[in-house]
Amino acid sequence: MDNEKLKAKDFITIGIFTAIWFVVEFACGMLGYIHPYIVAAYVILLPLAGAVPMMLFYTKVEKFGMLTIMSVLIAIIMFVTGMGYLGAPLIILAGLVADLIAKNGGYKSFATTVLSYSVFCLWICANYFPVIVTAESYRHSLIDGGFSTEYADSLFSVINPKTIAVLFVLCFVFGIIGAFIGKAVVKKHFEKAGIV
């Protein structure tokens, strides 16, 4: 039998973990209601909180396509919930590359899993795309409304190519940290309980 290809069970597992991942994202998103700036902390919170389910996920499927499909699902859900689709190419690219990296390690090697997860985390940056795109028009409306140009610029100094690069780096770094924590938790609980 062909054990390399994804089977019905794997598709179900992928679905389950995507749902969990979204719930985690939603929980972090709740914090965003307190203040929009917390949204910026997504890049730190999500890679950390999402690491535990993801590390478990890596042990559950171990076949090529698991991350790619997950990223496609994320893109579809983002689309349907009105969060825009400009980020879709980034999401799917991150998923595909992460998948390839993990495949390289046969989905077993810890080093490639860590790398794969932190690459996968880069999709989180897609959440910021709408903000970046619309920032420009917001700046205009501020200036039209009588705010001084300097003031508007100072507000938006945060959103520039440099900070976006910083977000990517943060995502990646916390992805690595998260992966280590996640792996430790999987060892502590799931391996000990014998379900991995």
Partner: protein, 233 residues
């Protein structure tokens, strides 16, 4: 009157609206087009008898719209004002997408989504996974409720003041439950023929009606107007 839109029409609406919210309305004419596009899903919500959410969205939109214009037309300075303008700006900018998405999610059965995707030739694997995602949101909610009850009984909701423990106590039992349910679900689904070589079919026969075509037309025109004004002129 019972209005049943084709899910494909709904997906197209989201597609257009999500694109348009990314583009700023620079002239009053464009703004008008945009407002019309926002009104359509509100009307649809009313037709489908989701009055409360329709009114809530409408009120939010109108308030944000009025505030934006009032604030911008007057001499306004200061940090607080900027933040307020910012909030209103975000609402005006993105709420059309939010309303449309809300409408679609509230009025479409998951089965319809699935058949729509089957019609659009999305691969079976992705459809299965997506259906599972949808089915699992309520499951996770149920499981989480029980877990949080259990935590209350033992007085460990706050994890003894330790954030990591707080997350751990919630996540670990949840993951165990989900993995178990997933295993049983897979077994039950496979014995009912999931994963076969034949392509899945769908019990629902989707058909585009007059209203579907009308809506597709309206939204296409709106999209074109925006594209033309934004990039051609």
């Amino acid at each position: 009157m019972k209005l049943k839109l084709d899910p494909r029409t709904k997906l197209f609406m989201i597609f257009v609206v999500s694109a348009v919210v990314m583009m700023s309305a620079t002239t009053p004419f464009l703004l008008a087009v945009r407002i019309i596009m926002t009104i359509v899903p509100v009307v649809l919500l009313i037709i489908e008898k989701h009055f409360a959410s329709a009114i809530r969205f409408l009120a939010l939109y109108v308030i944000a719209l009025v505030l934006t214009f009032r604030l911008i037309s007057e001499e306004s300075t200061g940090f607080l004002m900027a933040v307020l303008v910012g909030y209103c700006g975000i609402v005006v900018q993105f709420i059309p997408a939010l309303i449309t998405a809300w409408y679609v999610i509230r009025t479409t059965k998951i089965g319809d989504f699935v058949s729509a995707m089957e019609k659009m030739h999305v691969p079976d694997g992705i459809i299965i996974s997506l259906a599972v995602v949808m089915r699992f949101f309520p499951t996770i909610k149920e499981e989480y409720m029980s877990i949080s009850d259990a935590m209350k009984m033992r007085g460990i909701e706050m994890g003894g003041g330790n954030v990591a423990k707080m997350v751990e106590y919630r996540m670990i039992p949840l993951l165990f439950s989900c993995v178990n349910i997933g295993d049983e679900l897979s077994a039950a689904a496979i014995t009912r023929g999931l994963g076969g070589k034949v392509r899945r079919t769908s019990a629902d026969i989707l058909k585009m009606g007059l209203v579907d075509y009308l809506l597709v037309f309206i939204f296409s025109v709106a999209m074109i107007i925006f594209m033309v004004f934004k990039y051609v002129i």
